[in-house]
């Protein structure tokens, strides 16, 4: 592994609740090299988003911390651009203006008006959205909104791109398109990416490493899977690739068996249900 670019070190976080503090994360440690694509996968509520938010600086860890290029992260900033799950574009601005808001803030005094305009358009081109740059979010589809969200994040020239289930709300076909776009962009720009996902195929297709998290409370990293598939990757070729399928099975196995909730196969579920029914009947009531 190359020098430590981003270091998540012994991060724990507690949230105050009515019944005392709730420990969401317990000593999460992870170090990520420059240009690496890392996926966080795990069951809902296992604290994946919390990890991402701590790296983004939107949450502060109770213990431990995050170090980026040798400096501790203590507040949000454009060097850790976030692509939010529900795109979070400003609905009253066009696609162009949404990206422009970020560019004007980040490159204030470093680029002139013309350079900014070029840079905004360049980033919209990168996500293939130049044709709809004068449209408002309500006028474009979910996938297009997410593209603009990615363009906005990329336009900040971030050290790390943080993506919180970026394609979770999209239909399968659009999602596949977006994944291909992301592969292409990552190949071109070589950003460091941390992406949260629920989608096993997505994680294997895109990542260099898959970080699998145990269930909360006090969630932590259960296992890390190295995805050593050569790049560039092609989803159609990989579909029949035994190694790809092996890696995929590894993730599924982790989620379903080792650190996931006890997963019941449909058949077993039925058997269990009927067993429960029998028990209920025996107890004299349903």
């Amino acid at each position: 592994m190359k020098s430590n670019h981003l270091e998540v070190s012994q991060v724990s976080i507690e949230f105050p609740t009515r019944n005392g503090p709730f420990k969401a994360l317990d000593r999460v440690s992870l170090s990520i090299a420059k240009g690496e694509f890392v996926s966080l996968i795990g069951h809902s509520g296992c604290g994946k988003s919390t990890v991402l938010n701590i790296v983004a600086g939107l949450h502060r860890a109770t213990e431990g911390g995050v170090i980026l290029n040798g400096r501790e992260v203590d507040q949000p900033g454009p060097d850790r651009a976030v692509v939010f799950q529900n795109h979070s574009l400003l609905p009253w601005l066009t696609a162009y203006e949404n990206v422009a808001l970020a560019v004007r803030q980040v490159f204030k005094g470093r680029k002139n008006r013309k350079e900014m305009d070029d840079w905004i358009k360049h980033n919209l081109q990168l996500v293939h959205m130049e044709h709809a740059m004068d449209k408002r979010p309500a006028e474009i589809s979910g996938g297009m909104k997410q593209r603009v969200g990615i363009a906005r994040a990329l336009a900040m020239e971030p050290e790390v791109l943080l993506m919180d289930e970026p394609f979770g709300a999209l239909d399968a076909l659009t999602r596949a398109h977006m994944q291909d776009s992301l592969l292409e962009i990552h190949a071109r720009l070589g950003n460091t990416v941390i992406m949260i996902t629920h989608d096993v195929d997505e994680s294997v297709l895109l990542s260099d490493r898959i970080v699998m998290m145990t269930n909360g409370p006090a969630a932590t990293i259960g296992e890390i899977l190295q995805v050593d598939l050569p790049r560039p990757r092609d989803r159609l070729e990989l579909a029949d690739d035994p190694h790809y399928n092996h890696l995929r099975a590894e993730v599924v196995r982790f989620l379903h068996e080792r650190h996931g909730r006890k997963v019941v196969t449909p058949f077993a579920a039925k058997a269990q249900d009927s067993a429960a029914d029998t028990a209920n009947l025996a107890a004299g009531g349903v």
């Binding site: 983004a56 600086g57 939107l58 507040q75 949000p76 900033g77 454009p78 850790r80 651009a81 976030v82 939010f84 529900n86 979070s88 400003l90 609905p91 009253w92 808001l101 970020a102 803030q105 980040v106 408002r136 309500a138 900040m156």
Partner: protein, 341 residues
């Protein structure tokens, strides 16, 4: 294609047989027009006629000390008279200025060093002058209220501490009647606004400030809600971008709360217009309120009809003000799903 036509034929079987689609199209269009005439025009018109009839029959049975309660006919007559008085007054004014100009010209011709006096015409304000005064007054009061309400609302929406501090005051002052405010406003204005040659009449200032005091509240409350309910992800966007406080407010908070803010402004203007009439009655600001009061004190046999003209004018102007605000609200609402009406 053929099945489609057949289906259409099935559908239109009950219509007179026609092979001419254009004709059929015209017929349906005609039917549309008939339906439009019925629903959008006939129904409201009928209701209006019914109302006028009811008014007429009920009014003729009510005897007041100023004669019978006027029906629509008398009110219509007085409306005409008010318009006539207005044109007469304008003619008189024109004539006055013409006389003055002629006299001054003559004086100057006789003696170039003569002192020339130019006096403003001081006729009594007509009904339409009073309408104009009322609109100016309500808009000034409303503008002043907006000037206070929006910043207060933004601050309350952004900080729950400030909201908790200010909320009890809002809740207590919100229901206070303009009639209760006016004496206090009058005394404070007389104490503070001391000038030998006041630029603004005190009655105008009193009325406008009373309007302000009564119509700040809906805008404050709505702006607060609009700002407080802003999508947390948008706030996170501003945090990631490290926008400064003012940029955040200007670029993200304000636009996102603008629809609710304008809904509040619309309610505020409605309240302001309602309050204004009462304020003008007491403050003797020469607007519609004073018109109603003067007619009431005047007590001629025409007074009640003239007051009803004023009532209708107040209603109609209130409606126009609301429409204007609605158009503004529609213009600034960015959410195409929001139903604004």
């Amino acid at each position: 294609m053929t099945t489609k036509i057949m289906r259409l034929n099935n559908f239109t079987r009950h219509l007179p047989p026609t092979k001419n689609w254009q004709l059929l199209w015209q017929k349906t269009m005609q039917r549309e027009r008939v339906r439009w005439l019925l629903t959008d025009f006939a129904v409201p018109a009928l209701a209006l006629l019914l109302f006028l009839g009811l008014w007429n029959s009920v009014a003729s049975h009510i005897d007041t000390s100023l004669g019978k309660l006027p029906g629509p006919a008398q009110v219509w007559e007085q409306a005409g008279k008010l318009l006539q008085e207005h044109t007469q007054e304008r003619d008189k004014e024109k004539a006055f200025y013409q006389r003055q100009e002629e006299r001054n010209a003559r004086l100057q011709a006789e003696d170039p060093t003569a002192e020339i006096k130019v006096r403003a015409y001081t006729g009594k304000p007509t009904f339409f002058d009073q309408i104009f005064t009322s609109i100016v007054t309500v808009l000034s009061g409303f503008a002043l209220a907006t000037l206070f309400a929006i910043p207060i609302g933004i601050v309350c929406g952004l900080s729950s501490v400030i909201y908790r501090a200010i909320n009890p005051l809002i809740q207590i002052f919100k229901p206070v009647s303009p009639l209760a405010w006016l004496p206090i406003v009058t005394m404070v204005v007389s104490a503070l606004y001391v000038s030998d040659d006041p630029l603004l009449a005190k009655s105008y200032v009193n009325s406008a400030i009373t309007v302000t005091l009564c119509c700040v509240w809906p805008t404050i409350i709505n702006t607060t809600v609009g700002v407080a309910t802003i999508d947390n992800d948008l706030i996170n966007v501003s945090r990631v971008l490290r926008l400064g406080w003012f940029t955040k407010v200007y670029k993200i908070v304000l636009p996102s709360s603008v629809p609710l803010m304008f809904a509040g402004l619309r309610v505020s203007l409605g309240i302001g217009w309602m309050v204004l009439i009462a304020a003008e009655m007491l403050a003797q600001n020469p607007g519609l309120g004073k018109f109603v009061w003067d007619e009431f004190q005047n007590g001629s046999s025409d007074s009640l009809a003239r007051i009803i003209v004023a009532v209708l004018a107040i209603g109609f102007i209130g409606f126009l003000l609301d429409r204007a605000m609605l158009m503004l609200q529609k213009y600034v609402t960015w959410d195409p799903k929001a139903v604004v009406r």
